[in-house]
Every structure is written in structure tokens, then in C-alpha cells.
């Protein structure tokens, strides 16, 4: 089914009785050419690009619960490409360009809204670092503007500019950054992949890999054995758990990251503001709720819920930046389990097992990477070669000393 304004008009005349489910509910076949484990944003994007851009057939996506129930449904919906390092920035800018054409590509309204992402700075050295970052972005084809305090004041006059500890001196703005309706990303990719014949199989948990003579030839699932020529794993948050079934140990820890939504307020923030010094960032949803978050809790967890000290810390950060939200009440909060990697950057690579491919380690930034991650993973699975924007995301970079460490924290995942 194709969505269009014409279709809405026809359906309106017919009392909206002709809408069909967005994807089928197929039974698993005995074998496939390609199996993607994980029906989240990255897995579904991979399936979509495999089918639409790389002409692959007989593809299945296996999901243990329902699609989009993991991190693509548990984030703060921000898209941006404001990285510094070579190996990262080109990849994230590729992702942002794919976001810009996403809705036409998958024929689904994902509410891509390029409302601008502003990173605040509070000192001269921080301004210099942001100038350098902005230049790195521009060199990679992204957009960046260094704003002074007056320009930030024009955008957001209510911020606490004269804070004693972190006075706002200005910010680095990426006008093309913004937000996307996160669930619609999963549904949109599922819709497009399904239309190209991909079987999206929900409630089908992988319980083991079948590996013979160093080659992965299929997966055991709760719905029986399924054979495959190639298997791609995109299960960030649970990567260590799934890859342990293939006997692998990964350079990852699972951590919990919390996010929060306030009650609906009148329009206040039309973009995204990040306040790194105060461990707080915020945007406002189209329904009016302030969507905000801060740091990860800091200890390994698979719980999908966090603890109170971080909630307090995030709210204190929010109050120090914008005291006017003090009366707003928190409506709901949630925790997502993220793969924190040893250098804060992701992995998209082959494994030492023939026919088994791995995508993970997205830390707290996987949502914005969804399209490029899917595209690069589809490229890798099809050609056995990394996509040109993802060449640095190799599994062996830690052994070879080629880390991509944006924060310069070393092998301490909870500090990235």
C-alpha cells in the first residue's frame, strides 16, 4: 500500500475502511539468503537497504519481541552530525543526508524536522574547541555556525546566561540537525522492507547459532531452526549476550541511559539545546512535552530502568540552564540499554566466523546513526567490504591501536 495525499482523500470518502496493516505477519521459511537478527531501527534499516539498494532477495528480520520495542523506541529522537574525528564525522553526515531523503525513500511520514541543534559553550577554550569541531564538520560536508552569546540570546532569551559557574558565551549550531518521530522510523523502514518482500518475523527469539567448519549456516530460534547463507546481528544493548552464543567476547559493556518527558507546555523551545557542562539536553516534542536527558547511570545494567541519583542530577542540570521549567512536572521517564564501547564509537564489521556480521557498540548515539548504519551494514553484508563512510568501525581496531575516541577517555566505557 502506498501512502499519498490522494490515498487519504479516497479513504476519507470510504470511511477509512481500506487501510491495511503496515507490514505482514509471515511465518518463518526454512531458510533465507540473509537473516538480520534484531527488528529495531538498525536491523530494519539494514533489511530495507539490502532489498532496495543492494538488490538482495530472500531476507528475514528476526525480532524477539515486537519491532521497534528496544532503543529505537527509547531515545530522545535527535539527529545531528556534529562530530570531530575522522572516521566518525563523514559517517554521521552520510546519515544526516539519508535522514533528509528518508520519508520519500520509505514512503512513510517520519516527521523529520530539521529544527537545529545548539551546543552551548561557557569558556574561551570551549569556544576554540567548538570552532575546531565546526571546521571538521564543514570539511566533511556538514553545516555548522559558531554563535556568540548575543546570537544565542536571540534564539533562546530565557536561558540562564549569567550563571556564576557556567555563563553562556555562545554555541555551536548545526541548523540541519533536529528531531525525528522515532517509532515512525521503525514502522517506516518495516513498511518499505516488507513491500520489497522482506519477512519481518516478530516474537522469534534467536537462541543459538549453527556454526559448522567456521561458517554460520543458520540460527536456532524459539520458532524453530532457520537456515541462512549470511547472518547479520544488529541488537545493540544485547550485543554481548547474542554474540556470546557464537562464542565471542566483545569490547562492550551494557549500560542504562535514562530519558524524561515533562507534561505538555506551550511552545518554548523550537530546536534542540545541549548543555554538556551541566549534563543536560532538551528539545520540545510537537505535543508540547519537554524531552530531556543527561548522562548514563554509570554501572553495567540490562534493566531498562535507571535509578534516582541520575534523575536528580539531570533535573538539577535543567534547572541551572533554564530555571523557568521549575514548575513543570515530569510525566514519564524510561531507560534504554546501550552498548557502551571501549572508545565510544560503534562497530560494523565481519566476525572471524564466515557469514556472520556484527553491528553494535552505538553507545548513547545510535538513533541518529540509524540510516547510515543500515546502509553501511547492508553494504558490508552484500559485498564483504566496509562502506566508504564506515571503514574505521572495525572490530580489530582496539588490538591495532586505531581507536576513535571522541572524548579521549580511554578504555572506560562509562566515561564516554
Amino acid at each position: 500500500m502506498r501512502y499519498s495525499a490522494f490515498r487519504i482523500a479516497i479513504e476519507a470518502l470510504k470511511g477509512h475502511k481500506g487501510w491495511k496493516p503496515v507490514w505482514r505477519k509471515p511465518e518463518p521459511k526454512p531458510d533465507y539468503d540473509i537473516i538480520i537478527i534484531g527488528g529495531g531501527g538498525h536491523g530494519l534499516a539494514t533489511a530495507h537497504y539490502l532489498a532496495s539498494k543492494f538488490n538482495q532477495k530472500r531476507i528475514a528480520v528476526l525480532e524477539k519481541g515486537w519491532i521497534g520495542g528496544g532503543n529505537v523506541g527509547r531515545n530522545t529522537t535527535i539527529i545531528r552530525s556534529n562530530y570531530l574525528l575522522h572516521g566518525n564525522e563523514g559517517f554521521y553526515e552520510f546519515s544526516l543526508k539519508l535522514w533528509e531523503g528518508l520519508e520519500q525513500d520509505v514512503n512513510y511520514n517520519a516527521m523529520v524536522s530539521q529544527r537545529g541543534v545548539l551546543n552551548l559553550y561557557h569558556s574561551d577554550p570551549q569556544r576554540d574547541a567548538y570552532a575546531r569541531r565546526g571546521n571538521a564538520m564543514i570539511l566533511n560536508g556538514a553545516d555548522a555556525k559558531l554563535l556568540d552569546s548575543a546570537a544565542v540570546r536571540k534564539m533562546y532569551p530565557f536561558l540562564n546566561f549569567d550563571d556564576a559557574r557556567f555563563p553562556i558565551q555562545g554555541g555551536l549550531l548545526q541548523p540541519r540537525g533536529g528531531t525525528v518521530r522515532h517509532d515512525a522510523v521503525a514502522w517506516g523502514y518495516a513498511h518499505a522492507a516488507d513491500k520489497n518482500g522482506v519477512d519481518i518475523i516478530e516474537n522469534c527469539e534467536v537462541t543459538g547459532f549453527k556454526i559448522e567448519q567456521g561458517r554460520c549456516i543458520g540460527v536456532e530460534t524459539t520458532r524453530g531452526y532457520i537456515g541462512a547463507t549470511k547472518v547479520g546481528v544488529a541488537v545493540a544493548g544485547n550485543s554481548s549476550r547474542v554474540m556470546a552464543m557464537a562464542g565471542m567476547q566483545l569490547p562492550l559493556e551494557s549500560h542504562v541511559l535514562q530519558a524524561f518527558v515533562s507534561e505538555g507546555l506551550k511552545p518554548l523551545i523550537d530546536g534542540v539545546i545541549t548543555y554538556g557542562a551541566g549534563h543536560f539536553y532538551v528539545s520540545q516534542s510537537d505535543k508540547g512535552g519537554l524531552v530531556f536527558g543527561g548522562d548514563i547511570d554509570g554501572y553495567n545494567s540490562y534493566a531498562q530502568r535507571g535509578n534516582l541519583p541520575v534523575i536528580e542530577d539531570v533535573c538539577e542540570g535543567g534547572m541551572s540552564l533554564m530555571p523557568n521549567i521549575g514548575k513543570a512536572r515530569i510525566l514519564r521517564m524510561w531507560g534504554g540499554i546501550v552498548d557502551m564501547s571501549m572508545d565510544g564509537s560503534p562497530i560494523i564489521d565481519k566476525t572471524h566466523i564466515e557469514g556472520l556480521y556484527f553491528n553494535g557498540g552505538w553507545c548513547y548515539g545510535g538513533f541518529k546513526a540509524t540510516p547510515a548504519s543500515g546502509y553501511a551494514f547492508a553494504h558490508l553484508i552484500t559485498t564483504d567490504m566496509p562502506h566508504k563512510t564506515a571503514q574505521a568501525y572495525r572490530m580489530d581496531r582496539f588490538a591495532r591501536g586505531l581507536m576513535i575516541d571522541e572524548k579521549g577517555q580511554g578504555a572506560q566505557p562509562n566515561l564516554h
Binding site: 544485547n238 554481548s240 549476550r241 556470546a244 567476547q249 566483545l250 569490547p251 562492550l252 559493556e253 551494557s254 554509570g298 554501572y299 553495567n300 545494567s301 540490562y302 534493566a303 535509578n307 541519583p309 571501549m342 582496539f398 588490538a399 578504555a411 572506560q412 566505557p413 562509562n414
Partner: protein
Amino acid sequence: MIINHPLLGPRDSSEFSYLGDAALLNRPSAKSETATDDFYRYQYLRDNPPGEHRELWYHEHGDRSWLVITRNMTTHAITKVELARDVKRAMIEASKS
């Protein structure tokens, strides 16, 4: 989370900072022929299990002791708290015998 410190009794987890898997107590030998690979595994690879996890916490805002805490990663339930000093000593004793 409340951490039942072996010397100080129950303390809030926000007094502590977190390092990671207690396997870090088991530092490989630099003299081994496989030292390069051993140190790569020691530094970068983790089991990261969904169930019980032994991990190192530092009582930074307290008595500055290092603890080995056994905690379930899915429920956050803490089942055992030991002084890292005692754990390491026991490891050295075990390696001698």
C-alpha cells in the same frame, strides 16, 4: 541502590564510583609470551553477562576503599560485597597453592 559496605554498613551508591568487571584484578603478566594478546583481552574485552556480575566500585566520597560487589545486572540486586583487598589476597593465596 544501597551498597552494604563491609566496614561502614549500608551506604548510598552515589557515594561510589564504578570501574567495571572485577576481572580487572587479574592483571596478566608482562613477561608472558602471549602478553600482547593477554593485555588486549584484559584491557578491552568484557563478558558483560545479563545475570550476576562481579564488579569493582570505589568508595570515593567515603573511606576510599575498593570493593568487589556481586550484583545482578538485570535486577540490580546486590548479593555480596567484599573488600577488593581481601579478594585480591585470596587470589594470590590460591595461585600459590
